[in-house]
Subunit: 317 residues, 6 copies
């Protein structure tokens, strides 16, 4: 076996605390030949409604990701043997200008989409997912969304602006990017502006699973629901780090208590084996609010690793 | 519908990170006409046996409370439409002088009690509850206590002082403020000075539910026990933030490991629908020990919100 | 003597750690009769080029300001006896939308300017000064700027945007808001994009005093330079907290080492007795990067106090 | 009843925040007459593969341990009445020199082992357990290991070195210190270098219980498995603080998400009543990464207390 | 040469990060034979007007003091060769009860004073100095005070209480403990309640040197002023850590900006060679507000070392 | 003008908070053609005597370095136009094994030295300088050392080890790597083990300038002394971040109070124009002890920039 052309630094040769901080210490490349999966950052936080700072999310997740080793013992897959993973750097962004940034992200992702490389974005606030979906839809058509999040992000506007991190999925449906009827938003919780908040998401077509129901479902129940909805269709998985409880992920912009542990979160993700994942992101890591032990960034890095492992399961290198 | 005369700032008009920090950005008023519920601080920490700093608890809880939205999706109630909620500011206190402070708190609360306004206090250390109970008993007579806490706070004295944050409920029983036989202390855990610590609480008449039992009971079991005890009688709910595990609430004075998550805590609170709540407090938030993400203060703000929601359920504005 | 109609809470009656956090615990009012000076927040940080978070600056400065007592022993003036000071709350802002925010700030300040109230703004990033100047110029005509800052903020644009926190004073000159020839930018330091950075500021008409020169000048030399430039003309003093060294003000967005101590900063400010101050701000406090002791916010609160003291010296209540 | 010759300071006489920080404020002694259990530190972190800093672990655990009271209400045992517990100070160590340190630890422990005193070590990184086992084996012969940890620590070498914190238990088996077939490693989780990581541990003879299985087992299931394995044989319990989730123990060197809560951890420990405990340690507390509330150190102190309580149950003073 | 009977652990044998945290790792003893200087803690903070937490000051200063080596190169004295220094532990205190605590401190210090041991106290808030002075005056009669502090602490009362950390030196003069006319308060700064604040101190007889004047004086000028005042008379030096600027000492209860650097502070202390020092303290270290690098505690430990060095200069062991 | 082949990312195109963290966002290359200066990390901290953690120094300095702009206004040089600067990644290291690491560093530096590339190392603890000097001496012969540091690092051994961060310069002299008679150690301060500490350094041939003298000398005096010593000879500048005061650089392993500000430090460095710099390092940044504003890392990044600017002044691209 020859294995993938790109591999991370070997921790037996260069200790994990050494080296330039790329995701998992993967090669930092801009050429896509031989690449299966590209991890890249979208350091944008202009569209944040409460605590800013997610522009430093990609740096923090990369920093924590050096703790990741290549083999996933529960899914029994060696991620970096199965996938040729690179760090594609950060998308250009324009702080202060969301629509300009959307264009930049779409442009940055186009080569990935064209080359059939699996794109895994590190946010940035949740507004960025809209640009990611635009880029992917050009190849895949409307996509099924699996969103793990404490907020549905289907509000309509924010201080006169149609694009912000709380309106992403309403816009996405309006733009025809999502197959909302096959999409599931799970983990929703916290106080709302009104009873309409959840109803609006449902009226857009989403299946909304509040946190209390999701906890009842467990990994298997959730997977069953998802499988029924998405089948073989292309799926985008968007993981907002505030899906986790603030004890597990304090470093985020709009935390909600009574959330999930990382053990629960990983169980939900691992149950999704077999879905047709065409893109994913991990968003809303705001490092200035993280603890000294950087547990939020570490959780995000592990979520990214789980997503790569799900992708790796279906690969046949 | 006209709705309540006092409402918080509208987050669609003034972003949640803007404005003077009152509880939920409610109006800061000292007149009580038209007021249903008054949130106020008691910034006192002289009676603390380990880490001081709870005098800054009200500031921190108010700061975190701006993240609260008005509608409670699980209890299906709009708190600020159902209740006219104000921030009543802070009670005067005398740092270093507990009995003088008790008088000040009783005096500050008297207008609230006279006007039939629901008082929700933000501590401050747990000593303050004694003054709150004294104020309320003048109207309601002996009250049922529902205490969620890792300590029973029924010790007798502390370095020659009868009043400190660990003797509050012994004093309260002695003063005839509580209907101890109808009162429940739940979540008790951690090492003790002796086997007598719990026994003393029971001998005062309290039903004591250690954390291990409470976890077995779950929300429904706890609610059943409570309902049986308190029936229609007036209830004071005192939530010591150290009921939560230090992972969820590190910012407190005498943390005890093996505690409850916020998800568990909210489930216990939500199960109490229908109780006759006449007063409540959230105490022992010590912000200097909180994480950069302020999860303790956020948890306390959410507990306060749950308490208002319980009150709102019974209101008919 | 009767004294001003508005005064802060008396620390002999309510301890300084108690009460709603307004600036110096001054009354929070929206009516301007009897008001001499209004402190207000502009919680905006969309125009920030590096670390965001200054939207929480006003909260942090208010929190630290409760440590301020009324009498200034060096200038020998009782600030709150000489001036009727209120907290005017926060200006509405639109996160993500700088020009909309400018309009909101101008609108919010109009009543202050109309009433001849001295406006002291708490930022927020440095972009907000443009809106403040627009509001003041309607009454005073072009104003002399005294800027204490590590950056001249006279760049031209940022990622396609003309308005950001680094172009404020170029825009201000272009809009005719400033009498640049009578304006002094002092404390400038740090690496630049090129030799043109300083030259551009000078070509706009500003007198630029780099940090090394300013340190040589000292308080008296600086005051001499300023007096010569501004004479009796109306002055706006803009204090960017990054004028201070990161040891004294770590909590800011674009820190530059080799800056000034608070002792030096206060000496510069105190030397300005007698200037005709018509407005002022303290900007770029980003609390998430402050130390646990909140020294940045405390420094900013003290700068604000010095500015009020300078104003108070000229008042005749 | 006379009780043990050594007891901690009485918190009714000297408040818990006062006094020199020894473990539980026990007497700091170097003579062993009348001593049942000795808590001591091994402040060594040279053998750490990621975040260093565990050399400050003993200081932090002692600091947090002052919150411990003597009586264990769940196990119904007064630890300090049942055992004469002292703080034996810190073993000499040689930072930078692991084998020299091993000799120092063995030498420091020899009097404890000779005197039949129960040794409870506070780490330090996990490399130190090898020296502890060497010291104990001289008295007890090969010992059963109960390891609660997220890593098996059975790698072979690290950058040319046979001794580091990830090879401890491979070395221990090779040196004949352990009865591997009667030993259980539980809580193992996180990404691995390959499928061989776990297999290697099993091939050494260990029973390896991954975290997912352990969570299924629960306290009773785990105790059943342990009892079956160890019977009456002498047991060493090694608790790596990264057994806990980073939310509960952020202050550690190689954190792994999806770990255990302190409530779960204490349940596992309490289920072990009746085992023949001859030594124990709590390792890998790295205080610089702990939160301001020091929850990691507090968790470690409580784990140490549980271990003493297990020992106390079998004592007959 | 035989040298003193008590010496700290040798850092060539036990690394400085190892061992029980006593001051400079000196022996922890309660017998006074052979002792020249005793460092002890007074962990009391009930008398604090703003941020509490100084009860943990002694722990933090001891923790940082392990970085101190024995030889003072500027004063050319080996502190631990010249003086037999021990850690005397903490005085008993009664949190919440200042007058009871005063009695406890006086009682704890009596053996030191009787034995002619030099007492160096680690606070605790500044209220404790009153008890120290009471203890010393029994032997020395009225003492000259050298106070380095940002506040004169000569207010009269606080919320009805005559004893708090801001009235210490007014009480001390009233009780006849001080030779106020030979006493110097230096470094005073910050906003005041009124012009009377300084005048009150002067009317009590103190020479008050505001920070601006002290900075002008420099070390030599200050020493000249002091020498003129105190001559050969017995001196108590009280160092409030808020003498330092918050950049150098953020971890304190009532910080004042525009303070002194540690370099300046040490220069003032070193200039005092030859004074007849009979007692000293370092107070108001509040560790919860210190930075992660613990610079406040380190500064306090160094101040304590300077005080011991001043004492050592006059000793003839 | 064509300019250098390698340049950092343009902050007008990619905002400074975006992109992989290399030094100044310079290209990360391993080929040396066209390279004038190579910045690289040596993430090693096994040889640290107090706080470990400097292995994360390179990561932190790179993170802070993105704030650096290319033009140095005081020295009037555009660093990246004058020098082709790259990030050369991290040298391999062997945690736990200092001599093995020395070999790895020498090997990693050999291509740089052979190619005549200016090497600027980011530490790591101060032990690493020995390996750097070994590598450079092969080309330059014995080198003049300019050390800015609070410790001379000329102790002899540490717990039986000849190589640790406190013996570096004694070893360097013994190995003939330094022209000690032309070398200057400046900024030395803090308590010592004995009077011999400084004398030992002097006996090795070094000119030792204690901090008090250095402060008197000022930039010009220091430069005069240096010029006299080093003349045209090749110079290695080693900047230990603990040269700075803990207020300016809390994030280090063995902090000493009464140190230098960054303004002072930069003045010393800038005065060295014209020296023949052949290598340099910035060491002892330990990020876990830095403040939330990362001022230590920012100071180190600026020191590195000054060193590059000194080098750039002599270049003629």
């Amino acid at each position: 076996m020859i294995g993938p052309p790109y591999r991370p630094l070997d921790a037996q040769v260069i200790p994990r605390f050494a080296g330039i901080r790329t995701f998992m210490r993967s090669p930092y490349v801009s050429e896509l030949a031989g690449v299966d999966a590209a991890v890249f950052g979208i350091p944008f936080d202009t569209a944040t409604s409460f605590r800013t700072g997610a522009r430093f999310g990609p740096e923090a997740i990369r920093s924590a990701s050096v703790l990741l080793r290549p083999y996933h013992p529960v899914l029994a897959v060696n991620v970096v043997e199965s996938l040729s993973v690179v760090d594609y750097g950060d998308s250009p962004v324009s702080p202060g200008a969301i629509e300009r940034t959307y264009s930049q992200v779409e442009e940055a992702m186009a080569p990935l989409v064209d080359a059939g490389v699996f794109p895994l974005a590190l946010g940035g606030d949740h507004s960025i997912t809209l640009a990611e979906l635009r880029a992917l839809v050009r190849r895949h058509g409307p996509i099924c969304l699996l969103q793990l999040d404490s907020h549905a992000d289907t509000w309509d506007e924010y201080f006169g602006q149609k694009y912000f991190h709380g309106s992403t999925f309403k816009r996405a449906v309006e733009e025809g990017l999502l197959d909302a009827g096959s999409s599931v938003q799970a983990g929703i919780r916290g106080s709302n502006y009104g009873a309409g908040d959840i109803r609006d998401a449902e009226e857009l077509g989403f299946t909304v699973v509040p946190s209390e129901e999701l906890r009842q479902l467990g990994g298997e129940g959730y997977a069953g629901l998802v499988t029924e909805k998405v089948g073989e269709r292309p799926v985008f998985l968007s993981f907002d780090i505030d899906f986790l409880d603030p004890a597990f992920a304090p470093g985020t912009g709009t935390p909600e208590v009574a959330g999930f542990s990382t053990a629960e979160a990983l169980a939900f993700l691992r149950a999704l084996q077999g879905i047709n994942l065409v893109g994913a992101d991990v968003v809303e890591v705001s490092p200035a609010y993280d603890g000294p032990g950087q547990q939020t960034a570490l959780a995000a890095a592990n979520v990214a690793f789980e997503l790569l492992a799900l992708k790796a399961l279906g690969s046949v290198r």
